[in-house]
C-alpha cells in the first residue's frame, strides 16, 4: 500500500490537487421519460436520444499546497462541477483527478440534518457523513456546540431551531476538524454578520496552519480579496489562470 502511495505522489509536482485533461459529460435526455412505460415505448420506437452536455472540457489544473485558489465564472460555467470532481462526488468522464489530503467540503451546510433528531444526534450523524467516528465527535463535541452557539438547544429537536442556528451548526460540524483542503462553494451566506466574521476567522486560521483552500464564486470582489491565484472558467474550459487582479479584470471585460 505504501509503495502504491509513493507512486501516486509522482507527477504531482508539489500540487495537492491536480486535474489532467478532465472532462465531465452530463447526459441530458432530449425529452424527459418520467415513467418506465414511456421509456419502453420510446426505446422500441428508437427515439431514446441523449444530448451530451460537456460541463467541463479538457481542464488542466494544479493547486499547490497552502494556496488559496479561486475559481471565477458565470452561472453554469462549470465551477461547481469542478468542485464536485475534486471532492469526489463526480467521477470525471475523461481525464484524471488526483487529490492529496483530507478534503472538507463546505457545500450546502446542514443538507443532511434531520429535523426530528436533536442537535446532539444531528452532530453525530453529520460528522459521520463527513467520515468521522463517534469517538472523534465525542472529543470535539463541546467545541462544536460552543462555536455554533446553541448550547441551550442542544437536546431539542432540530425543527425548533431557527434557520440561522441550523446554518451555524452545519458550519461548526463541517469545520470542527482541520482539513488539508477546504472546498468552499459561494462562500458563507450563513448567519448574521457576527457569525460570518467568526467563519472567516476560522478559515483564516486553517490557512495559517497550511491548509489549501479551493474557493468558487461569481463574486469578483471576494475572489480578489482572499485568493492568491485565480482561474477563470467559461463554458466548461479554463480561459485564464493568474494573479487575481489580472484575471478579475479579464473576467469583467470578457
Amino acid at each position: 500500500m505504501s509503495n502504491n502511495a509513493e507512486d501516486r505522489w509522482d507527477g504531482m509536482d508539489g500540487a495537492v490537487i491536480r486535474l489532467d485533461s478532465v472532462s465531465v459529460r452530463y447526459r441530458v435526455p432530449e425529452e424527459r421519460f418520467g415513467t418506465f412505460k414511456e421509456y419502453i415505448i420510446r426505446r422500441i420506437q428508437g427515439k431514446v436520444k441523449d444530448r451530451d452536455f460537456w460541463a467541463l472540457h479538457d481542464v488542466d489544473l494544479a493547486v499547490n499546497e497552502g494556496e488559496v485558489f479561486g475559481v471565477i465564472g458565470r452561472n453554469g460555467a462549470g465551477k461547481s462541477t469542478m468542485l464536485k470532481v475534486v471532492s469526489r462526488v463526480l467521477r470525471p468522464t475523461k481525464g484524471r483527478v488526483r487529490v492529496v489530503g483530507r478534503v472538507a467540503p463546505l457545500l450546502e451546510l446542514g443538507a443532511a440534518f434531520h429535523h426530528e433528531l436533536t442537535g446532539r444526534e444531528n452532530i453525530f450523524l453529520n460528522a459521520a457523513l463527513l467520515g468521522h467516528t463517534q469517538r472523534d465527535v465525542e472529543q470535539r463535541f463541546q467545541d462544536i456546540v460552543n462555536f455554533a452557539d446553541i448550547s441551550g438547544f442542544i437536546d431539542a429537536p432540530l425543527r425548533t431551531y431557527s434557520t440561522g442556528m441550523v446554518a451555524r451548526l452545519g458550519f461548526s460540524v463541517a469545520t470542527a476538524w482541520e482539513p488539508d483542503i477546504l472546498v468552499l462553494d459561494e462562500v458563507l451566506a450563513v448567519g448574521d454578520e457576527a457569525f460570518q466574521a467568526k467563519c472567516y476567522e476560522r478559515i483564516n486560521s486553517f490557512r495559517e496552519d497550511g491548509a489549501t483552500v479551493l474557493l468558487v464564486s461569481h463574486n469578483a470582489r471576494v475572489v480578489q480579496n482572499i485568493c492568491q491565484r485565480v482561474a477563470w472558467v467559461d463554458q466548461g474550459a479554463i480561459r485564464a489562470i493568474g494573479a487575481p487582479e489580472e484575471i478579475v479584470q479579464m473576467y469583467r471585460e470578457g
Binding site: 469526489r88 488526483r98 450523524l125 463527513l130
Partner: protein, 278 residues
Amino acid sequence: MTSDVIEAVPLYDSGLKRSKAIEEAVEAYRYRHLIFQLVRRDVLTRYKRSILGVAWTMLNPLGMMLVLTIAFSQLFGGTRAYPAYVLTGLVAWNFFAQTTTASMNQMVWGGGLLGKIYIPRTVFVLSSIGTGLVNLILSILPLIIVLLITGTPIRLTILFLPISILSLMAFSLGVGLLLSTWAIYFYDVTEMYQILLTAWMYLTPIIYPEEIVPEAVRTWLFTLNPMYHLVSIFRAPVYDGAFPDLRQLVGAVGLSVLVLAVGWILFARKSDEFAYRV
C-alpha cells in the same frame, strides 16, 4: 488532527484502475460509523413522536399475528400452534419486504446527498439492512413468548438462527442493491415492487401451511421461490425445533451469496452515474 477512519494522508486518484466492487467494499467499511449513525437515525426517528416508541417494533408483528390467527386459524386449523407458525414466517418475510423497500426509497429520496458530498453509495442500502436487523432482533423476544404460550418447545436448534438470518440478510442486500440501481433510473420500480411483494408473499407459505398446496404445483411454486427456502430455514430451528434440511440450506445460502455478489457488482459498476442522476 486526523481521525481514526481516515488514514494520515488520504490520496484520491480517479484514474486508479481498481475493481469498483472492491473499492466500494473498502469505502463502505471505512464509513461503517456512518452506517451505524444512519441505522440509529432510522430507529430513533421512526417512533420519535409516539408514546410507546420502540415497543411498536415488537407490537407490530404481534398485532399482525393476532389478526391473521383470528382470520385463518379455523381455515388452517390443522396446523399445530398456528400463531407461532404465522409469526415465524412473518418475522422473516417482514425483514425481506421492509429492507428491500427501504433500500430503494432511501436511494431515491435520500440520494440527493450523493450529489453533494462523497459518501460510499452503498451506505443507504447497508443501513436499511441494519435497521431491519434491529427490528428483527427486537421481534425475537415476542416470538419466544408466543412459542411458549402456544406450547412449542424451544430447542437448542434455535442457536442455528443466526445463520438463517445471515442468509436472509445477504439475499435482501443483494435484492435491495439491484432494485435501487434500477429505481434510480425509473422511479416506477418502487411502485411496481409493492404489487410484486404482495403477490410474492401469497405465493410463499407464510400464512398458510405448505401442505394445502397440491403436490404437483409445489415444485414450481416453492422450489423456484428463493423466499420459500429462506423462510423455511428460518422457521425450522424455531418452530419445528429441527435443523434445516441440508440440501435446502446449501441451496438457500448459495443463492443468497450469489444474489449478493451480482447485486453488489452491478450496483458498484453503475454507482458513478448515480451522482449524475439523483
